[in-house]
Symmetry: C2
Subunit: 468 residues, 2 copies
């Protein structure tokens, strides 16, 4: 290091955040100091900051109601069941999917693959050709998981006979549902199809599901998932793309009941081996925990807080607490990331999955500062992970005291995307996520980082301005 430079006085690497034009930071960059350029653009022309709705509701006050409800949530894993048995209003031809509403003709490859594979898994189709025919026949009803108190990672199809976790928000009594995680690679939720995919799912239904269900049923109060997520954020997880700690803690707390309800040692061994080999297992529990925390905020008049953010691989959609039935959509963006060997960006489907429920609820990508080691999976450097969280404070209404980040001196995670702040700053929500192959049948090919598209926030903001 040469003498007479800014960096001389610091023991550790320093970095500078440059807001706006990249050229402004040239002199600092020339000294070898890391400069983070925020993608700031001036606010949309002529859009003032909105303090009240047309009919005079104080938006900050409305948002505070939403934020408090999310913070008060106590998502608790209370059991498991088959989708058709436990999800309200389910029926034998209902196939839920991730993201905003979509019809078969507009579905992306991995979502089509997931629907077709689910038909074979359910015994409703004999092979892929048969499945495609049924899927496109109009005999099935497609609906977003989000319309049925549910969430699904990646393509996220929940078919009638799929076992799901049942999360209860103990504060408000509402339920949320999510499938079990199959692992990475060629798996159904990434659109993967083939005998090994169905065989794994059958084992999950006939062995894993009853074993976990028995253990959960033996717990009088269920498992406190909020506490597990809070601990996991102190152990290097973000609760979205890194769940090694959460998966470990989940196994730890469930173990005594798994042991007490054990019927066969070899079965128990295979169950814990399956979970041990899949560090993403806990994702399918953090997701419905987020859904359970967010759902009670529906219909808070005048709120500018985003309470749904999700993608079906074709469209990216958000909904606001003040307009829970109205989707604002835009084309789903691509994901920048790391690919498994043999795959590259040319194979990638656009962004897909309900897993952005974690960012919406104040963890996941928004808590990346807690998970510096995640960068080995999604790319970037540990400093990028910290910067991501710091940036998200600019567009959120509050900080979640229940989820703290040690390295930021136990600061609460950024909570509650405020459409107005996105418009003012031009900063878009950052998401870390998996990458599916664009063709049906292949599966997962990597993981990375993307941002929500601007259009959904422009449209939602316009709707908020018109709200009365």
């Amino acid at each position: 290091m040469e003498k007479g430079q800014i960096s001389d006085i610091f023991e550790k690497p320093i970095s500078v955040v440059n807001i706006g034009l990249q050229s402004m930071a040239l002199s600092v960059r020339d000294q070898g100091i890391k400069v983070i350029d925020l993608e700031w653009k001036p606010p949309i022309d002529g859009v003032p900051f909105l303090f009240t709705t047309k009919d005079g509701i104080d938006i900050d006050e409305a948002n505070e109601i939403v934020i408090q409800k999310i913070k008060q949530a106590r998502p608790t894993l209370i059991g498991m069941g088959l989708a058709k048995d436990v999800i309200p209003n389910f029926h034998d031809h209902l196939f839920l999917h991730a993201g905003p509403p979509i019809t078969w003709d507009r579905m992306c490859g991995p979502l089509r693959g997931n629907v077709m594979g689910a038909l074979i898994y359910e015994g409703m189709a004999n092979d892929e050709k048969d499945a495609e025919k049924i899927a496109s026949s109009g005999d099935l009803e497609y609906a977003p998981c989000h319309h049925y108190q549910s969430v699904g990672p990646m393509a996220g199809v929940i078919s009638p006979g799929l076992p799901v976790f049942i999360i209860e928000n103990k504060t408000f009594g509402n339920l949320a549902f999510c499938s079990m995680n199959e692992g990475l690679g060629k798996v159904l939720r990434y659109g993967g199809m083939g005998p090994e995919v169905y065989e794994r799912l059958k084992w999950m239904k006939s062995v894993l599901y009853p074993t976990l269900k028995r253990a959960l049923d033996s717990l009088p109060n269920g498992l406190d998932i909020k506490a597990l997520i809070a601990q996991a954020l102190h152990m290097g997880d973000d609760g979205h793309n890194r769940n090694r700690a959460g998966t470990s803690l989940f196994l730890r707390v469930l173990l005594p009941s798994l042991a007490r309800t054990n019927q066969d040692n070899e079965t128990l061994a295979q169950v814990v081996e399956f979970i041990d080999k899949n560090d993403h297992f806990f994702l399918n529990i953090t997701m419905p925990a987020g859904k359970a925390a967010l759902d009670p905020t529906d219909s808070v008049k005048g709120s500018s807080i985003v309470t749904t953010m999700t993608r079906n691989g074709t469209d990216f959609g958000i909904r606001l607490a003040s307009m829970p039935k109205r989707w604002f959509t835009a084309p789903a963006p691509f994901v920048e990331g790391l690919y498994f060997p043999g795959f590259g960006p040319e194979d990638a489907n656009p962004d897909i999955g309900d897993s952005t429920v974690t960012e919406t609820a104040g963890y996941g990508g928004f808590a990346m500062a807690a998970a510096p080691a995640i960068t080995k999976f999604v790319g970037g450097t540990p400093q990028d992970a910290i910067d991501s969280t710091l940036e998200m404070y600019e567009i959120t209404a509050s900080e979640h005291e229940g989820f703290t980040i040690p390295v930021l001196n136990f600061r609460g995670t950024p909570l509650g995307i405020d459409v107005r702040k996105v418009m003012q700053t031009g900063i878009l929500p950052k998401i870390n996520t998996g990458i599916a192959h664009k063709q049906p049948g292949i599966g997962g090919i990597g993981a990375g980082i993307t941002r929500a598209p601007m259009k959904v926030f422009i449209d939602a903001f316009e709707a908020l301005r018109e709200l009365s």
Copy 2:
């Protein structure tokens, strides 16, 4: 924040490291910027940096041999056994203890408590009075754990009938041993005595030990502890005073074998509950892993690397790789920390335990940057934890590529305390540790941070200068 100050250009809090006189950093401190004052003092008068020993051995080259041996270590948990059955040269009246050699008359309260309690546990004494008589009679042989390929946390007594973990360094074939962790509070290793202490130890011997031993015996290759520690450092552990991740991972990897060798569901449930309730359980595995990694470095001529650093509650002692049979001792320092309710500094015994084997082997307090949440247990701030690790790079010979710290951009942990660097910088090794009550019988009362005493390094350096 006022304009025109250094801090204006930074998005995040910045901090300045000031070396030497505190007054030098006044102007920076005045601007509200955090200043870390390193306790630097000029090198001991007239002591030049030592490049070779009297007989011409290149000290850096000698140290490189030591460092490479430590890095190449592959500590693996291969089984368990009773101390007298598995530790070489054990006998029925041998009581090992933490720290450098000490006689009964100089033993501190918690070490006396541990010896007395162990006599009752072993059935060699009927009560505390009886135990004190036997302990002081001269009929027992006391020796450091370190002289018997062993380590013990806190008072660290290993009595003949105590079950111990067996760690094998697969690279060099040497073994290391350590007891099982009892938990915190009134426990024997902190000098705690009483019926509940003996009852817990009896359960550990009759239930926990055979259950774990069966599971371990069923593993053909044992458990790779180096890999578990490396993962735990990516999950908020330091491997000394925070072992929540390590304990979770240990349970995870052992679970399939625990299930397959299960003989009784309720026993298995109680075993996993006991481990789940004690986040320090993995400490008694990280410690012998460190011992197993360090022992092959004994007798590397001319090395200035510290390969033993330990305390018996009265004396603090170190040994160098070049002089493995020679102890350099000084009075054990007190610990600055957080106390359990009802206790304070006036109750505290000076620093005690072999657990500093973790710092010696490149983790523990030296890896605190990996464990910002540890500050809730030992005090200080997350920034202090990061600063601790950064400071230790100043007195270590290398960085351990096998143990990396995500938040420092995956930099290897500081490895190999070099006596010469301690002398040059005046920086003393930082240790995070538990605090025992000074009276026998009471047990653990807190946890905190301390530093090794200067005298042991001055003496060791003098000896190194005289070495030929």
